[in-house]
């Protein structure tokens, strides 16, 4: 990559700018992310064990909901991640479109399946939480309905990306779609939320809407942070593989494979 020329021209360049430049080079990114990934998994593992222990074992049963509130510790972080990942995908997509940075295209496209996975988990766990709480597996409440529409948005991005043959063109098209979806997302959210109150009168909330007890809150926050490390690890793994696949015939890829222990 030609980024090395720019760095030699201005030796006093800000370290952060240099770092960002280097990230744009696939072999450098491949190496760097390879070192990060194990740490991300480690932190994810530790936080998850700790969070689930606090949430599933230590926290006392809720007065109103019984034990089923424990589903919250996987449902809520997943729902939060589904939205966070879409936002991050849209931001990466914006950068990719405006500055035509290939690594951003790869990162944005690699984010989509992870986001869809979390959306799926949020929907399934929300449904399973609804059964003991409200008696039915599916309820068109604001959150589940929003999550469903979000899933369709993810599937649209993934579908468009896989439908176009040329990888960079496919990524650019899907990034534009992600951006359009991101702009619409707040509108969709508010209209669904408001549609829900319009048609049901009272608002139903899975968490009961009451003040949440600290013993219940801590595990939730820990899990919320844990899944972010999952996203980081998974995203980087997917991005690395995507780069290998796209640069199949390039020298740096062959060097990587040669240096691999068999």
């Amino acid at each position: 990559m030609n980024t090395q020329i720019g760095i030699k021209d201005k030796p006093r360049k800000n370290a952060l700018v240099m770092f960002i430049h280097k990230l744009g080079s696939p072999p450098w990114f491949y190496d760097f992310s390879g070192k990060l990934i194990p740490w991300c998994w480690l932190i994810f593992g530790v936080l998850t064990v700790w969070g689930l222990y606090l949430g599933l074992v230590k926290a006392p049963a809720d007065y109103l909901q019984g034990e089923s509130f424990r589903i919250m510790y996987i449902h809520v972080p997943s729902a939060w991640m589904s939205m966070l990942i879409y936002t991050s995908m849209a931001v990466m997509g914006f950068i990719a479109l405006v500055w035509r940075i290939r690594i951003m295209e790869v990162l944005a496209m690699s984010s989509a399946p992870v986001g869809a996975a979390f959306t799926l988990i949020a929907l399934a766990t929300g449904s399973l939480w609804g059964r003991p709480t409200w008696g039915t597996y599916w309820v068109w409440d604001a959150r589940l309905t929003s999550e469903l529409v979000l899933l369709f948005l993810y599937l649209g991005v993934m579908g468009l990306y896989s439908a176009i043959d040329e990888p960079r063109k496919a990524a650019r098209a899907a990034c534009l779609l992600a951006l359009v979806g991101a702009v619409n997302l707040p509108i969709i959210h508010y209209s669904v939320k408001w549609w829900n109150t319009l048609h049901q009168g009272s608002s139903i909330s899975l968490t009961g809407g009451s003040n949440i007890d600290p013993s219940m809150l801590w595990p939730l926050l820990i899990m919320a942070i844990a899944v972010k490390f999952y996203y980081a690890a998974n995203l980087l793994t997917r991005a690395r593989v995507r780069l290998l696949e796209q640069d199949l015939r390039k020298g740096w890829v062959q060097n990587v494979v040669r240096e691999q222990k068999p």
Binding site: E67, I71, A117, I121, L244
Partner: protein
Amino acid sequence: MSHTPFIWAAYTVGTVVLLWCALAPLLRKKSAFRDIRRLIQIEERSGDSNP
């Protein structure tokens, strides 16, 4: 109605999906490596130097 089967189901779903999501790229990586190794062998056999 006992809530426990629902809790188990929820965490099972979560674990299965996250596990699959984590493993899928690793499978692709293996097949990518296989393809690259094949390419290297083809090039070495035909005597090409590295591009």
